[in-house]
Subunit: 82 residues, 2 copies
């Protein structure tokens, strides 16, 4: 079955305490080379049947209105896999 | 600055209550066409300098050992963007 993947990240101008915690852990473990870590969400919507333009539009709407909070998050990607 | 994106999803054989809740909400809102929703994490690791093979290997190791819990999650993707 095809799957629509929606990626949501915290807005760049907002603090991401979870990401900061992971970045701090990498530092303490002596792992270099990374300047920062941010943590967002990946939604996999399994599609019944075919992916058409109408369904993609619905997915875009769901991503903007239900899967993300536009005050603090951005939808950074919507793609179809499989 | 280049960014390494690590995608982590709950294992297919495990329940994903968060995803189930979203799928139920879509249903109640009368949004059809989706058979299921699963919710995972998207990590963006900002890289200081260049991405080379050693750093990618480090990222793979971090993904497996720190960013995911292999008992309940799978690393489903590691890619470099920008």
């Amino acid at each position: 079955m095809p799957t629509i993947v929606v990626d949501v990240m915290p807005k760049a101008e907002l603090l991401d305490p979870q990401g900061k915690a992971v970045a701090g852990a990498l530092n303490r473990l002596g792992i270099d080379g990374f300047a920062g870590v941010r943590i967002g969400k990946r939604f996999e919507l399994t599609v019944e049947g075919e992916v058409d333009d109408a369904l993609l539009e619905t997915a875009q709407r769901i991503a903007d209105e239900i899967l993300s909070n536009s005050v603090i998050e951005d939808v950074v990607g919507i793609e179809v896999i499989e």
